[in-house]
């Protein structure tokens, strides 16, 4: 996976990164730029001196389970010896000659401070298996292989997951840690008319925020569906778009939408399943089935829809966070929804 992805990244680097490609960059690709070589390299690698015999290299590779080692003279890098060099020596029965006869002396190195992508580019260009890493003074500080990079990226992804858990933990304690007589959190989303490309984004963010705050998956899903239908209504029907306002309190979630027109002339009719005023091209995309408001009602513990034609519409949806508050939901299904 890493190699394929790295290949793609390299292509993008060669072509230059456009705004469009930036939008498609995955987390793994991002990490290739964020992580530095020194974060993922092996420090204090096994090194050898030029005069030791190939037999010693064989022993070292076998004991340390490595496939290559930098060759140094007083801390200065003079070459690299790899398992391929060892095989050449073995074929010739040359195990007693000094390794300098077989080492590669033109060593390609990478800088410790560079991002991991630089090492990946060098791997792709040179097809070597390992790269000595040097500091700003050219002194050897480590060695890096593709395996080191994979491990480094996996560790970083693990950190990302832990960070998400931490965010979730912090968010879920928000209401406990902050003391007030009444604590609420308000989220606002500005929705543009006919912006189908971003349709569903606000509701996705709402659902994720609620999960982070510790809402049950069922409650988050109901809020997500209600918010989605409300969001799509703003996109499909409003003249100038509108606002979704989500008020989160320890006991309930209040989702409201506000817009400034065109308004709904007959709310009873609008609530009828299958009734829709969506234009044909919008229906062809599968929107405007005339089910949106019904879906909101189904997910809500209480719902209120107020509209003045020519002025705008105000939708209020309340969902309780704990099942014990569910009596209200029962009541609602008997026709208790107040429609102003």
């Amino acid at each position: 996976m890493t190699e394929g992805r790295a290949g793609e990244t390299l292509l993008q680097v060669e072509r230059g990164i456009t705004d469009e490609t930036v939008g498609h960059i995955t987390r793994v690709e991002e990490l290739f730029y964020e992580l530095r070589i020194e974060d993922t390299m092996t420090r204090d690698p096994k090194v050898v001196t030029p005069d030791v015999p190939m037999r010693a290299v064989l022993e070292l590779f076998r004991q340390a389970r490595i496939s290559g080692a930098p060759v140094v003279v007083q801390g200065e890098l003079v070459g690299i010896i790899s398992i391929e060099d060892l095989i050449r020596a073995l074929v010739k029965g040359d195990l007693d000659v000094p390794l300098k006869e077989y080492m590669t002396s033109k060593v390609i190195t990478v800088q410790a401070q560079s991002p991991v992508i630089e090492a990946l580019k060098t791997f792709a260009q040179t097809r070597v298996g390992r790269l000595p890493v040097v500091d700003e003074n050219g002194r050897l500080v480590g060695i890096i292989t593709k395996g080191d990079i994979t491990r480094g990226v996996l560790k970083a992804l693990q950190r990302d997951i832990q960070l998400e858990e931490l965010k979730r933990y912090r968010a879920s304690h928000l209401f406990e840690d902050i003391v007030s007589d009444r604590t609420s959190l308000v989220l606002r989303y500005y929705i543009k008319p006919r912006d189908f490309t971003h349709g569903g984004q606000a509701s996705h963010h709402i659902k994720r925020a609620l999960l982070r705050l510790g809402a049950s998956p069922q409650v988050a899903r109901r809020c997500g569906i209600a918010a989605y239908e409300a969001e799509m209504n703003l996109i499909i029907h409003t003249t100038n778009g509108g606002v979704i306002r989500v008020g989160i309190e320890p006991s309930d979630i209040l989702i409201e939408t506000f817009d400034d027109g065109p308004g709904i002339p007959d709310i009873q009719l609008a609530m009828t399943p299958g009734y829709s005023t969506a234009p044909e091209e919008v229906r062809e995309m599968g929107f405007g089935a005339g089910m949106g408001l019904k879906n909101i009602e189904r997910c809500a513990d209480s719902m209120q829809l107020e509209s003045i034609p020519g002025k705008g519409t105000h939708l209020t949806v309340r969902i309780y966070l704990h099942p014990q508050d569910g009596q209200v939901r029962e009541h609602k299904s008997e026709g208790g929804t107040r429609i102003a």
Partner: protein
């Protein structure tokens, strides 16, 4: 039933980054091209069969936590929609067959509507 069995039996083309489909359980199925009907009718961990292929399909599938979406009649979604699906970890599949054919096959395999 696992997604792996369905993909193999129906010979579906995976549009998103493949993952371990044998670990994904498909509990039910739903077919409609009207998004609000899907919102109301599809169950989570289900499979949804549609010929809609724009990016809002992904938004709906993500919100409902569907196991997979099968897009029929070869209506290939845009790259944007596929990228979004990868981001949201929605499994998108494509087939040249009709919705009727896919639903019939799934029913034969034992997938039901709830």
């Amino acid at each position: 039933m696992t997604l792996q069995e369905i993909v193999a039996e129906l010979n579906l083309m995976c549009l998103t980054n493949p993952c371990d489909f044998s670990a994904i359980e498909v509990k039910s199925g739903y077919a409609s091209d009207l998004l609000s009907c899907v919102m109301a009718g599809a169950r989570h961990h289900g499979v949804w069969i549609t010929l809609q292929s724009h990016s809002n399909v992904v938004a709906v599938a993500a919100l409902l936590e569907l196991s997979a979406v099968i897009i029929t009649e070869g209506a290939r979604p845009s790259q944007d929609a596929i990228d979004k699906a990868n981001e949201e970890r929605v499994n998108l599949f494509l087939t040249d067959k009709s919705t009727f054919w896919v639903v019939g096959k799934l029913w034969e395999m034992g997938v039901r509507d709830s």
